[in-house]
Protein backbone atom coordinates (compact mmCIF):
# COMPACT_ATOMS: atom_id res chain seq x y z
CA UNK A 1 0.00 0.00 0.00
CA UNK A 2 1.07 3.60 -0.42
CA UNK A 3 1.04 5.89 2.58
CA UNK A 4 0.73 9.66 2.75
CA UNK A 5 3.51 10.51 5.18
CA UNK A 6 2.19 14.07 5.42
CA UNK A 7 -0.98 12.78 7.06
CA UNK A 8 0.15 9.70 9.00
CA UNK A 9 0.49 9.86 12.79
CA UNK A 10 2.87 7.54 14.60
CA UNK A 11 -0.11 5.84 16.23
CA UNK A 12 -1.64 5.16 12.80
CA UNK A 13 1.70 4.02 11.40
CA UNK A 14 2.14 1.58 14.29
CA UNK A 15 -1.32 0.20 13.64
CA UNK A 16 -0.63 -0.31 9.93
CA UNK A 17 2.38 -2.45 10.82
CA UNK A 18 0.57 -4.33 13.61
CA UNK A 19 -2.32 -5.11 11.24
CA UNK A 20 0.06 -6.31 8.54
CA UNK A 21 -1.18 -3.64 6.11
CA UNK A 22 2.38 -2.50 5.49
CA UNK A 23 5.80 -3.85 6.45
CA UNK A 24 8.28 -1.94 8.55
CA UNK A 25 10.62 -1.82 5.55
CA UNK A 26 7.92 -0.45 3.22
CA UNK A 27 7.05 2.25 5.71
CA UNK A 28 10.72 3.14 6.23
CA UNK A 29 11.16 3.47 2.45
CA UNK A 30 8.09 5.71 2.21
CA UNK A 31 9.76 8.14 4.61
CA UNK A 32 13.08 7.87 2.76
CA UNK A 33 11.18 8.79 -0.43
CA UNK A 34 9.62 11.80 1.33
CA UNK A 35 13.09 12.86 2.51
CA UNK A 36 14.42 12.48 -1.03
CA UNK A 37 11.60 14.62 -2.35
CA UNK A 38 11.42 17.43 0.21
CA UNK A 39 14.66 17.53 2.21
CA UNK A 40 16.82 19.10 -0.52
CA UNK A 41 14.72 22.23 0.02
CA UNK A 42 14.25 21.99 3.81
CA UNK A 43 17.63 20.65 4.98
CA UNK A 44 16.08 19.06 8.04
CA UNK A 45 18.61 16.22 8.06
CA UNK A 46 22.37 16.21 8.56
CA UNK A 47 22.56 12.47 8.03
CA UNK A 48 20.05 10.01 6.59
CA UNK A 49 20.21 6.30 7.52
CA UNK A 50 19.57 4.13 4.48
CA UNK A 51 18.44 1.09 6.45
CA UNK A 52 18.54 1.28 10.24
CA UNK A 53 17.56 -2.04 11.88
CA UNK A 54 14.28 -2.62 13.72
CA UNK A 55 10.76 -3.97 13.24
CA UNK A 56 8.80 -0.81 14.02
CA UNK A 57 8.28 2.68 12.68
CA UNK A 58 10.95 5.32 11.94
CA UNK A 59 12.04 8.15 14.19
CA UNK A 60 14.22 11.19 13.45
CA UNK A 61 16.81 12.13 16.06
CA UNK A 62 18.25 15.53 16.83
CA UNK A 63 21.97 15.43 16.17
CA UNK A 64 22.94 16.17 19.78
CA UNK A 65 21.71 12.70 20.79
CA UNK A 66 24.39 10.01 20.55
CA UNK A 67 23.64 7.10 18.21
CA UNK A 68 26.02 4.14 18.03
CA UNK A 69 27.62 3.86 14.61
CA UNK A 70 25.73 6.89 13.25
CA UNK A 71 27.50 10.28 13.04
CA UNK A 72 26.57 12.74 15.80
CA UNK A 73 27.86 16.25 15.12
CA UNK A 74 25.77 18.51 17.40
CA UNK A 75 25.71 20.85 14.40
CA UNK A 76 29.40 21.61 14.99
CA UNK A 77 32.56 21.29 12.92
CA UNK A 78 34.37 20.19 16.06
CA UNK A 79 32.39 16.90 15.97
CA UNK A 80 32.26 16.57 12.17
CA UNK A 81 33.91 13.15 12.15
CA UNK A 82 32.53 11.90 15.48
CA UNK A 83 30.77 8.52 15.44
CA UNK A 84 29.55 7.41 18.90
CA UNK A 85 30.60 3.97 20.09
CA UNK A 86 27.53 3.54 22.30
CA UNK A 87 23.83 4.46 22.19
CA UNK A 88 22.44 7.12 24.48
CA UNK A 89 19.82 5.76 26.90
CA UNK A 90 16.94 7.39 25.01
CA UNK A 91 18.06 5.67 21.80
CA UNK A 92 18.41 2.33 23.60
CA UNK A 93 14.85 2.83 24.90
CA UNK A 94 13.58 3.59 21.38
CA UNK A 95 15.36 0.53 19.96
CA UNK A 96 13.78 -1.72 22.60
CA UNK A 97 10.40 -0.69 21.17
CA UNK A 98 11.52 -1.44 17.60
CA UNK A 99 11.93 2.19 16.51
CA UNK A 100 14.32 2.75 13.60
CA UNK A 101 16.51 5.84 13.34
CA UNK A 102 15.81 7.36 9.93
CA UNK A 103 18.30 10.16 10.31
CA UNK A 104 19.93 12.82 12.41
CA UNK A 105 18.35 16.25 12.31
CA UNK A 106 19.87 19.69 12.05
CA UNK A 107 20.39 21.86 15.09
CA UNK A 108 21.99 25.12 16.06
CA UNK A 109 25.57 24.33 17.04
CA UNK A 110 25.52 22.60 20.44
CA UNK A 111 21.79 23.44 20.57
CA UNK A 112 22.65 27.12 21.03
CA UNK A 113 20.13 29.16 19.10
CA UNK A 114 16.52 29.77 18.17
CA UNK A 115 16.61 29.41 14.38
CA UNK A 116 19.11 26.64 13.30
CA UNK A 117 21.06 29.43 11.59
CA UNK A 118 23.90 28.68 14.00
CA UNK A 119 24.36 25.18 12.55
CA UNK A 120 27.83 24.77 11.05
CA UNK A 121 26.11 22.92 8.21
CA UNK A 122 23.68 25.65 7.17
CA UNK A 123 20.14 26.47 8.28
CA UNK A 124 17.02 24.34 7.99
CA UNK A 125 13.96 25.90 6.41
CA UNK A 126 10.37 26.19 7.58
CA UNK A 127 8.03 23.85 5.66
CA UNK A 128 5.28 26.52 5.73
CA UNK A 129 7.57 29.07 4.06
CA UNK A 130 11.13 28.06 3.13
CA UNK A 131 12.33 31.67 3.28
CA UNK A 132 11.72 31.54 7.04
CA UNK A 133 13.41 29.78 9.95
CA UNK A 134 11.91 26.63 11.48
CA UNK A 135 12.91 27.83 14.95
CA UNK A 136 15.67 26.33 17.02
CA UNK A 137 17.66 24.82 18.19
CA UNK A 138 15.66 21.75 17.14
CA UNK A 139 14.57 23.17 13.79
CA UNK A 140 15.60 20.03 11.94
CA UNK A 141 13.39 17.71 13.98
CA UNK A 142 10.55 20.25 13.73
CA UNK A 143 10.82 20.64 9.95
CA UNK A 144 11.08 16.84 9.53
CA UNK A 145 7.92 16.13 11.52
CA UNK A 146 5.99 19.03 9.99
CA UNK A 147 6.85 18.03 6.41
CA UNK A 148 6.13 14.31 6.88
CA UNK A 149 9.79 13.26 6.68
CA UNK A 150 9.39 11.30 9.93
CA UNK A 151 6.31 10.34 11.95
CA UNK A 152 7.95 11.73 15.08
CA UNK A 153 11.32 12.78 16.43
CA UNK A 154 13.41 13.41 19.51
CA UNK A 155 14.60 16.88 20.39
CA UNK A 156 16.41 18.46 23.30
CA UNK A 157 15.36 21.57 25.16
CA UNK A 158 17.50 23.82 27.35
CA UNK A 159 15.56 27.09 27.10
CA UNK A 160 12.94 26.36 24.44
CA UNK A 161 14.60 24.23 21.75
CA UNK A 162 11.68 21.78 21.48
CA UNK A 163 8.74 24.08 22.22
CA UNK A 164 9.72 27.09 20.08
CA UNK A 165 10.42 25.13 16.84
CA UNK A 166 7.16 23.21 17.40
CA UNK A 167 5.40 26.58 17.60
CA UNK A 168 7.05 27.94 14.46
CA UNK A 169 6.42 24.76 12.42
CA UNK A 170 2.94 24.05 13.82
CA UNK A 171 3.08 20.69 15.60
CA UNK A 172 3.34 19.19 19.08
CA UNK A 173 6.48 19.22 21.23
CA UNK A 174 7.09 18.48 24.91
CA UNK A 175 9.87 19.66 27.14
CA UNK A 176 9.50 17.18 30.01
CA UNK A 177 9.99 17.85 33.71
CA UNK A 178 13.70 18.11 34.55
CA UNK A 179 14.90 14.70 35.69
CA UNK A 180 12.35 12.52 33.88
CA UNK A 181 14.41 11.67 30.78
CA UNK A 182 18.00 10.44 30.81
CA UNK A 183 20.74 12.58 29.25
CA UNK A 184 23.25 9.71 29.19
CA UNK A 185 24.92 9.84 25.78
CA UNK A 186 23.49 13.26 24.90
CA UNK A 187 25.88 16.11 24.05
CA UNK A 188 25.79 18.35 27.13
CA UNK A 189 25.03 22.08 26.84
CA UNK A 190 23.74 23.33 30.23
CA UNK A 191 23.32 20.40 32.57
CA UNK A 192 20.93 21.94 35.09
CA UNK A 193 18.53 22.69 32.22
CA UNK A 194 19.01 20.19 29.37
CA UNK A 195 16.09 17.81 28.77
CA UNK A 196 15.39 15.39 25.91
CA UNK A 197 11.78 15.28 24.75
CA UNK A 198 9.33 14.16 22.06
CA UNK A 199 8.48 16.04 18.86
CA UNK A 200 5.23 14.74 17.38
CA UNK A 201 2.22 15.32 15.15
CA UNK A 202 -0.44 14.63 17.81
CA UNK A 203 -0.64 14.94 21.58
CA UNK A 204 -1.23 11.18 21.92
CA UNK A 205 1.91 10.43 19.88
CA UNK A 206 3.79 12.89 22.08
CA UNK A 207 2.54 11.19 25.26
CA UNK A 208 3.39 7.75 23.94
CA UNK A 209 6.91 8.73 22.90
CA UNK A 210 7.39 10.35 26.31
CA UNK A 211 6.42 7.03 27.93
CA UNK A 212 9.08 5.29 25.78
CA UNK A 213 11.98 7.58 26.67
CA UNK A 214 11.25 8.59 30.28
CA UNK A 215 12.20 6.89 33.52
CA UNK A 216 15.04 6.54 35.96
CA UNK A 217 18.41 5.61 34.46
CA UNK A 218 21.32 4.42 36.58
CA UNK A 219 23.64 6.11 34.06
CA UNK A 220 22.17 9.57 34.77
CA UNK A 221 22.07 10.34 38.49
CA UNK A 222 19.73 13.31 37.92
CA UNK A 223 16.89 11.05 36.77
CA UNK A 224 14.00 10.07 39.04
CA UNK A 225 11.07 7.65 39.01
CA UNK A 226 8.33 8.96 36.75
CA UNK A 227 4.53 8.66 37.23
CA UNK A 228 2.93 6.23 34.79
CA UNK A 229 2.05 7.99 31.54
CA UNK A 230 -1.67 8.08 30.67
CA UNK A 231 -2.51 8.38 26.98
CA UNK A 232 -5.12 11.15 26.87
CA UNK A 233 -8.67 10.35 25.69
CA UNK A 234 -10.96 13.00 27.21
CA UNK A 235 -12.42 15.62 24.88
CA UNK A 236 -13.51 18.08 27.56
CA UNK A 237 -11.71 20.22 30.12
CA UNK A 238 -14.20 19.91 32.99
CA UNK A 239 -12.63 20.91 36.28
CA UNK A 240 -9.37 22.14 34.76
CA UNK A 241 -8.10 25.37 36.28
CA UNK A 242 -6.16 27.40 33.71
CA UNK A 243 -3.99 30.28 34.83
CA UNK A 244 -3.10 32.97 32.31
CA UNK A 245 0.01 34.84 33.51
CA UNK A 246 -0.59 38.40 32.36
CA UNK A 247 3.11 39.13 31.84
CA UNK A 248 3.48 36.15 29.49
CA UNK A 249 0.47 37.23 27.48
CA UNK A 250 1.33 40.92 27.46
CA UNK A 251 5.12 40.98 27.07
CA UNK A 252 6.43 43.55 24.61
CA UNK A 253 6.92 42.10 21.16
CA UNK A 254 3.98 39.67 21.04
CA UNK A 255 2.48 39.99 17.58
CA UNK A 256 -1.25 40.84 17.48
CA UNK A 257 -1.98 37.76 15.36
CA UNK A 258 -0.31 35.57 17.98
CA UNK A 259 -2.32 37.11 20.83
CA UNK A 260 -5.55 36.78 18.83
CA UNK A 261 -5.04 33.04 18.19
CA UNK A 262 -4.14 32.40 21.84
CA UNK A 263 -7.12 34.38 23.17
CA UNK A 264 -9.49 32.51 20.88
CA UNK A 265 -8.10 29.23 22.21
CA UNK A 266 -8.67 30.39 25.79
CA UNK A 267 -12.33 31.09 24.94
CA UNK A 268 -12.50 27.61 23.45
CA UNK A 269 -11.03 26.16 26.66
CA UNK A 270 -13.79 27.84 28.69
CA UNK A 271 -16.43 26.41 26.38
CA UNK A 272 -14.91 22.96 27.02
CA UNK A 273 -15.45 23.35 30.74
CA UNK A 274 -12.18 24.86 32.00
CA UNK A 275 -12.02 27.84 34.31
CA UNK A 276 -9.73 30.52 32.95
CA UNK A 277 -8.31 33.15 35.28
CA UNK A 278 -5.62 35.80 34.94
CA UNK A 279 -2.61 35.46 37.24
CA UNK A 280 0.87 36.89 37.54
CA UNK A 281 4.52 35.85 37.31
CA UNK A 282 5.83 39.31 38.14
CA UNK A 283 9.56 38.64 38.02
CA UNK A 284 9.87 35.36 36.06
CA UNK A 285 9.21 36.93 32.68
CA UNK A 286 11.09 40.17 33.34
CA UNK A 287 14.22 38.46 34.67
CA UNK A 288 14.04 35.00 33.07
CA UNK A 289 16.07 35.71 29.96
CA UNK A 290 18.84 37.50 31.88
CA UNK A 291 18.98 34.66 34.42
CA UNK A 292 19.09 32.05 31.66
CA UNK A 293 21.82 33.79 29.67
CA UNK A 294 24.08 33.70 32.71
CA UNK A 295 23.40 30.18 33.97
CA UNK A 296 23.30 28.40 30.61
CA UNK A 297 26.56 29.94 29.27
CA UNK A 298 28.31 29.33 32.60
CA UNK A 299 27.43 25.65 32.45
CA UNK A 300 28.23 25.55 28.73
CA UNK A 301 31.69 26.98 29.30
CA UNK A 302 32.41 24.05 31.63
CA UNK A 303 30.72 21.40 29.45
CA UNK A 304 32.45 22.52 26.26
CA UNK A 305 35.87 22.45 27.92
CA UNK A 306 36.02 18.78 26.92
CA UNK A 307 36.49 19.67 23.24
CA UNK A 308 40.26 19.89 23.41
CA UNK A 309 41.41 17.81 20.44
CA UNK A 310 42.68 14.99 22.65
CA UNK A 311 40.15 12.16 22.93
CA UNK A 312 37.70 12.70 20.08
CA UNK A 313 36.62 15.29 17.56
CA UNK A 314 38.64 17.77 15.56
CA UNK A 315 42.31 18.44 16.20
CA UNK A 316 44.24 21.32 14.68
CA UNK A 317 48.02 21.13 14.88
CA UNK A 318 50.02 23.25 17.29
CA UNK A 319 53.65 23.39 18.40
CA UNK A 320 52.71 22.52 21.97
CA UNK A 321 49.66 21.24 23.86
CA UNK A 322 48.23 24.64 24.71
CA UNK A 323 48.55 25.94 21.15
CA UNK A 324 46.96 22.76 19.80
CA UNK A 325 43.96 23.17 22.13
CA UNK A 326 43.50 26.86 21.27
CA UNK A 327 43.80 26.29 17.52
CA UNK A 328 41.44 23.31 17.68
CA UNK A 329 38.76 25.30 19.50
CA UNK A 330 39.27 28.29 17.18
CA UNK A 331 38.77 26.12 14.11
CA UNK A 332 36.05 23.88 15.53
CA UNK A 333 33.60 26.21 17.28
CA UNK A 334 31.35 28.70 15.48
CA UNK A 335 30.61 32.18 16.78
CA UNK A 336 27.65 31.32 19.02
CA UNK A 337 29.44 28.67 21.13
CA UNK A 338 32.42 31.03 21.33
CA UNK A 339 30.18 33.85 22.59
CA UNK A 340 28.54 31.64 25.17
CA UNK A 341 31.79 30.07 26.34
CA UNK A 342 33.25 33.53 26.86
CA UNK A 343 30.15 34.92 28.61
CA UNK A 344 30.16 31.84 30.83
CA UNK A 345 33.87 32.06 31.60
CA UNK A 346 33.45 35.77 32.37
CA UNK A 347 30.45 35.18 34.65
CA UNK A 348 32.37 32.50 36.56
CA UNK A 349 35.71 34.29 36.74
CA UNK A 350 37.30 35.72 39.86
CA UNK A 351 35.70 38.99 40.93
CA UNK A 352 32.53 38.48 38.87
CA UNK A 353 31.19 35.17 40.20
CA UNK A 354 28.92 36.65 42.90
CA UNK A 355 27.67 39.51 40.75
CA UNK A 356 26.72 37.31 37.82
CA UNK A 357 26.48 33.55 38.35
CA UNK A 358 25.70 33.68 42.08
CA UNK A 359 23.02 36.33 41.56
CA UNK A 360 21.48 34.42 38.65
CA UNK A 361 21.16 31.32 40.86
CA UNK A 362 19.19 33.37 43.38
CA UNK A 363 16.95 34.78 40.65
CA UNK A 364 16.34 31.19 39.66
CA UNK A 365 14.96 30.54 43.15
CA UNK A 366 12.63 33.53 42.74
CA UNK A 367 11.38 32.16 39.40
CA UNK A 368 10.84 28.68 40.84
CA UNK A 369 8.90 30.03 43.85
CA UNK A 370 6.64 32.18 41.67
CA UNK A 371 5.69 29.14 39.63
CA UNK A 372 5.23 26.92 42.69
CA UNK A 373 2.81 29.43 44.17
CA UNK A 374 0.68 29.54 41.02
CA UNK A 375 0.40 25.75 40.92
CA UNK A 376 -1.31 25.84 44.31
CA UNK A 377 -4.26 27.47 42.49
CA UNK A 378 -3.95 26.27 38.90
CA UNK A 379 -3.51 22.98 37.04
CA UNK A 380 -1.87 24.50 33.95
CA UNK A 381 -0.53 27.87 32.88
CA UNK A 382 -1.10 29.03 29.32
CA UNK A 383 0.63 31.56 27.08
CA UNK A 384 1.93 31.94 23.54
CA UNK A 385 5.01 29.73 23.05
CA UNK A 386 6.79 32.27 20.87
CA UNK A 387 5.99 35.99 20.74
CA UNK A 388 6.20 35.86 16.95
CA UNK A 389 5.49 33.53 14.07
CA UNK A 390 8.46 32.20 12.06
CA UNK A 391 10.77 35.06 11.04
CA UNK A 392 12.80 35.36 7.81
CA UNK A 393 16.18 33.65 7.63
CA UNK A 394 18.83 36.27 8.33
CA UNK A 395 16.53 38.70 10.15
CA UNK A 396 18.13 38.37 13.60
CA UNK A 397 21.40 36.52 13.04
CA UNK A 398 23.65 39.58 13.53
CA UNK A 399 22.00 40.65 16.78
CA UNK A 400 22.52 38.01 19.50
CA UNK A 401 20.45 39.85 22.11
CA UNK A 402 17.43 40.13 19.77
CA UNK A 403 17.78 36.43 18.97
CA UNK A 404 17.83 35.57 22.69
CA UNK A 405 14.47 37.32 23.16
CA UNK A 406 12.77 34.65 21.02
CA UNK A 407 12.86 32.49 24.15
CA UNK A 408 11.36 35.03 26.56
CA UNK A 409 8.19 32.93 27.04
CA UNK A 410 9.75 29.45 27.06
CA UNK A 411 12.63 30.19 29.43
CA UNK A 412 10.91 30.88 32.78
CA UNK A 413 9.37 27.41 33.18
CA UNK A 414 12.64 25.81 32.02
CA UNK A 415 14.47 27.62 34.83
CA UNK A 416 11.86 26.21 37.25
CA UNK A 417 12.34 22.66 35.86
CA UNK A 418 8.69 22.40 34.80
CA UNK A 419 7.16 20.55 31.85
CA UNK A 420 5.89 22.59 28.93
CA UNK A 421 4.08 21.51 25.81
CA UNK A 422 3.37 23.31 22.55
CA UNK A 423 0.31 22.73 20.43
CA UNK A 424 -0.52 24.68 17.29
CA UNK A 425 -3.57 26.88 17.90
CA UNK A 426 -4.11 28.80 14.68
CA UNK A 427 -2.50 30.83 11.93
CA UNK A 428 -1.26 34.38 11.74
CA UNK A 429 -0.19 35.72 8.35
CA UNK A 430 -0.48 32.17 7.07
CA UNK A 431 2.04 30.85 9.60
CA UNK A 432 1.42 28.65 12.67
CA UNK A 433 0.92 30.10 16.15
CA UNK A 434 1.95 27.98 19.12
CA UNK A 435 0.19 27.69 22.46
CA UNK A 436 2.29 26.79 25.49
CA UNK A 437 0.83 24.71 28.32
CA UNK A 438 3.00 24.61 31.43
CA UNK A 439 2.33 22.05 34.14
CA UNK A 440 3.54 21.49 37.69
CA UNK A 441 6.58 19.29 38.31
CA UNK A 442 5.79 15.76 37.00
CA UNK A 443 2.44 17.11 35.71
CA UNK A 444 2.84 15.71 32.18
CA UNK A 445 -0.43 13.74 32.35
CA UNK A 446 -2.37 16.90 33.16
CA UNK A 447 -0.95 18.85 30.23
CA UNK A 448 -1.41 15.85 27.88
CA UNK A 449 -5.07 15.71 28.86
CA UNK A 450 -5.60 19.46 28.42
CA UNK A 451 -3.66 19.62 25.16
CA UNK A 452 -5.47 16.61 23.70
CA UNK A 453 -8.91 18.12 24.37
CA UNK A 454 -7.85 21.45 22.89
CA UNK A 455 -6.24 19.75 19.88
CA UNK A 456 -9.51 17.99 19.08
CA UNK A 457 -11.60 21.14 19.48
CA UNK A 458 -9.18 23.32 17.50
CA UNK A 459 -8.99 20.95 14.53
CA UNK A 460 -5.77 22.61 13.34
CA UNK A 461 -4.45 21.06 10.12
CA UNK A 462 -0.74 20.54 10.79
CA UNK A 463 0.14 19.90 7.14
CA UNK A 464 1.75 23.07 5.76
CA UNK A 465 -0.62 24.72 3.29
CA UNK A 466 1.90 24.71 0.44
CA UNK A 467 2.36 20.93 0.76
CA UNK A 468 -1.35 19.98 0.85
Amino acid sequence: MTVDTLRLSAEEANKLIADGAISSDELYRAYLDAIGERDPELHAFLHVCENDPGAGIPIAIKDVIGTKGIPTTAGSKILESYVPVYDSTVIANCRRRGLRVIGKTNTDEFAMGSSTENSAYGPSRNPWDPSRVPGGSGGGSAAAVSAGLAPWALGSDTGGSIKQPAALCGHVGLRPTYGTVSRYGVVAFASSLDQVGPVARTVRDCAFLYSVISGRDENDSTTVDVPEVELPTADDLKGLRIGVPKEMNGVAGIEPGVSAAVNKTLELAESLGASVEECSLPRSVDYGVACYYLIAPAEASANLARYDGVRYGLRDDGADFREMVMKTRHAGFGDEPKRRIMIGAYALSAGYYDAYYGTAQKVRTVIKREHDELFERFDVLVSPTSPTVAFPIGAKIDDPVAMYMNDVLTIPSCMAGLPGLNIPCGLSEGLPVGLQLIGPQFGENTIFRAAHALEGALGFDIVPERLR
Partner: protein, 94 residues
Amino acid sequence: MARITKEEVLHVARLARLELSDDDVAKFQEQLSDILEAVSKVSELDLSDVPPTAHPLEIANAWAEDVPRDCLPLDDVFANAPDRDGDYFRTPPA
Protein backbone atom coordinates in the same frame (compact mmCIF):
# COMPACT_ATOMS: atom_id res chain seq x y z
CA MET B 1 27.18 49.90 32.48
CA ALA B 2 30.79 49.83 31.30
CA ARG B 3 31.58 48.08 28.05
CA ILE B 4 34.17 45.33 28.33
CA THR B 5 37.61 46.13 27.04
CA LYS B 6 39.67 44.46 24.34
CA GLU B 7 42.01 43.20 27.08
CA GLU B 8 39.09 41.61 28.95
CA VAL B 9 37.96 39.84 25.77
CA LEU B 10 41.46 38.46 25.29
CA HIS B 11 41.72 37.50 28.96
CA VAL B 12 38.45 35.58 28.96
CA ALA B 13 39.34 33.94 25.62
CA ARG B 14 42.61 32.77 27.16
CA LEU B 15 40.75 31.39 30.19
CA ALA B 16 38.48 29.48 27.79
CA ARG B 17 41.39 28.37 25.56
CA LEU B 18 40.01 30.12 22.48
CA GLU B 19 42.33 31.63 19.91
CA LEU B 20 40.76 34.77 18.43
CA SER B 21 41.65 36.73 15.30
CA ASP B 22 41.84 40.55 15.48
CA ASP B 23 38.49 40.78 13.71
CA ASP B 24 37.01 38.35 16.24
CA VAL B 25 38.21 40.49 19.14
CA ALA B 26 36.53 43.61 17.77
CA LYS B 27 33.28 41.80 16.98
CA PHE B 28 33.09 39.95 20.31
CA GLN B 29 33.97 43.07 22.29
CA GLU B 30 30.84 44.68 20.85
CA GLN B 31 28.56 41.64 21.14
CA LEU B 32 29.72 40.48 24.59
CA SER B 33 29.22 44.02 25.92
CA ASP B 34 25.63 44.02 24.61
CA ILE B 35 24.97 40.60 26.16
CA LEU B 36 26.51 41.53 29.53
CA GLU B 37 24.47 44.71 29.60
CA ALA B 38 21.29 42.68 29.02
CA VAL B 39 22.08 40.01 31.63
CA SER B 40 23.16 42.56 34.26
CA LYS B 41 19.44 43.08 34.78
CA VAL B 42 19.63 40.30 37.42
CA SER B 43 21.32 42.76 39.79
CA GLU B 44 18.17 44.94 40.00
CA LEU B 45 16.40 42.62 42.45
CA ASP B 46 16.79 42.55 46.22
CA LEU B 47 17.95 38.99 46.82
CA SER B 48 19.43 39.30 50.29
CA ASP B 49 17.27 36.54 51.84
CA VAL B 50 17.06 34.29 48.79
CA PRO B 51 19.08 31.07 48.66
CA PRO B 52 20.60 30.00 45.33
CA THR B 53 19.11 27.21 43.17
CA ALA B 54 21.67 25.00 41.42
CA HIS B 55 19.14 22.69 39.78
CA PRO B 56 15.37 22.24 40.06
CA LEU B 57 15.20 18.75 41.63
CA GLU B 58 15.10 18.15 45.35
CA ILE B 59 17.72 15.42 45.34
CA ALA B 60 20.97 15.91 47.21
CA ASN B 61 22.62 12.59 46.56
CA ALA B 62 21.88 9.69 44.22
CA TRP B 63 23.36 6.47 45.47
CA ALA B 64 24.18 3.44 43.39
CA GLU B 65 25.47 0.01 44.30
CA ASP B 66 29.24 -0.01 44.00
CA VAL B 67 29.59 -3.02 41.74
CA PRO B 68 32.01 -3.47 38.84
CA ARG B 69 30.53 -3.33 35.36
CA ASP B 70 31.92 -3.90 31.89
CA CYS B 71 33.40 -0.79 30.37
CA LEU B 72 34.08 0.05 26.73
CA PRO B 73 36.76 -2.01 24.95
CA LEU B 74 39.94 0.04 24.40
CA ASP B 75 39.55 0.02 20.62
CA ASP B 76 36.14 1.67 21.07
CA VAL B 77 37.59 4.20 23.48
CA PHE B 78 40.21 5.18 20.90
CA ALA B 79 37.89 4.91 17.88
CA ASN B 80 37.45 8.69 17.63
CA ALA B 81 40.89 9.71 18.88
CA PRO B 82 42.84 12.15 16.67
CA ASP B 83 46.09 10.42 17.61
CA ARG B 84 46.92 7.26 19.55
CA ASP B 85 50.08 5.67 20.84
CA GLY B 86 49.28 2.17 22.12
CA ASP B 87 46.97 2.57 25.09
CA TYR B 88 47.55 6.34 25.28
CA PHE B 89 46.11 9.41 23.59
CA ARG B 90 49.05 11.20 21.95
CA THR B 91 49.26 15.01 22.04
CA PRO B 92 51.93 17.60 21.29
CA PRO B 93 54.31 18.20 24.25
CA ALA B 94 53.07 20.28 27.15
